[in-house]
Symmetry: C2
Subunit: 204 residues, 2 copies
DNA sequence: AATTGCACCGACCACTTAGTCGGTAAAAAT
DNA sequence: ATTTTTACCGACTAAGTGGTCGGTGCAATT
């Protein structure tokens, strides 16, 4: 038990630093040695805890990235009332965090997906699964929004969900080297106008 | 002259193969040797024509990527009449090409931008400049659309342009491993509904 | 006929890569 | 008190990595 704690602590430390560097520099452009140097740990420690660089990265996805996405994109909208206002607020919050983060390199899931898409099936599946969960959540929310009278019935929830996801992934990339304040403000204004096309007006 | 032709031909062959491999596998995950093996050329040939791997990549951007973006995203909309229908048609065409391409890995500029953002200032500036040209073109088109009576006056053209670009970059990534037919159809349906919010209705 | 320079060859260099393995100090189990 | 296990060390390996450099055949120039 106590043993497991020490083990977990070290593994966690490695994963945190690993994610930091992979996110900053990319997976292929970051060596195991880079991470180890930054941690002041040895090769032996690394391969004692993880089978391979790939195995290490997968554990990062499962232990850190999934949680991050849940915390910022899924839980804030899950089961909420008015889907359209909740989605807008959630994305705005997320963009605000990115805006205030000096070391923002874009949407983690998306960056890695771009790096692994078509090159590492195992890893890109994990990443796509995360997006899938988000997507399913958005769809569910929009569907519920229909029965609750917030969203127009004929809206295609699947299409809306992937449109929202697409636009979010794109704007995050643009914000990395653009003016994040203006980009965020403009993005939200357009998102709102898009979401407005789905609003079920009250019956007078 | 004839000399220059041979020189140019080899350089072009290298650039084409280089872009192919960089696009498929990523820049950092593709070695100069990989490209040379695929071309059946030697190290000597490579460093005779190019100063470095980076220099080589920059020449690819300037000679191939810029043209590709111009051909598919800029020329088809430049100076056209109704901005909103033209933008929709242009993006749909581009997505159709991607859909029919068995070896599609997403939007070239966007993939490389993700790979270099914050890691190689020189290269990411080139890539951002390409996006900038596209953006300026979209803005100009929308502005002209206002004076021509197609677009509502109070529309924020800058915001609209970067929203369109964002959504396009995102959907291209999703299409890589998703069902491209459905994704494209759904995307265009949502894009249309977004663009519709900007339509200047005729005065009766 | 002799010379020059272009386009290319491929062995080589210093360095980095992911991954292995024999060792070890300290803690836990016996 | 002795053995075993845990968590980690760091030298090492084999296979790359980007890049250099002396050489070479051939076409154009002289």
């Amino acid at each position: 038990m106590d043993k497991n704690l020490k083990r977990m602590a070290t593994m966690h430390r490695m994963q945190v630093t690993g994610l930091e560097l992979f996110y900053e520099q990319g997976y292929y452009n970051t060596s195991v040695d880079d991470i180890l140097k930054s941690l002041e740990l040895s090769k032996g420690a690394f391969y004692y805890h993880f089978q391979s660089k790939e195995d290490f990265f997968i554990s990062i996805i499962q232990n850190l990235i999934v949680q991050k996405v849940y915390g910022t994109l899924i839980e804030p909208i899950e089961g909420k009332e008015n889907p359209l206002t909740v989605i807008e607020k959630c994305l705005d919050n997320s963009l605000q965090t990115a805006e205030n983060n000096e070391m923002d390199y874009g949407f983690v899931v998306h960056n890695f997906l771009t790096e692994f898409n078509g090159r590492n099936e195992t890893i890109s599946r994990y990443l796509r699964d995360i997006l899938k969960i988000w997507e399913v959540n958005l769809i569910t929310l929009l569907q519920k929004g229909k029965t609750d009278g917030y969203v127009i019935r004929h809206v295609n929830s699947e299409a809306a969900a992937s449109f929202i996801i697409s636009s979010y992934m794109g704007i995050r990339t643009l914000m990395v080297e653009g003016n994040p304040r203006i980009l965020r403000y403009n993005y939200i204004s357009q998102l709102r106008s898009y979401l407005n096309t789905m609003v079920q007006r009250e019956l007078a």
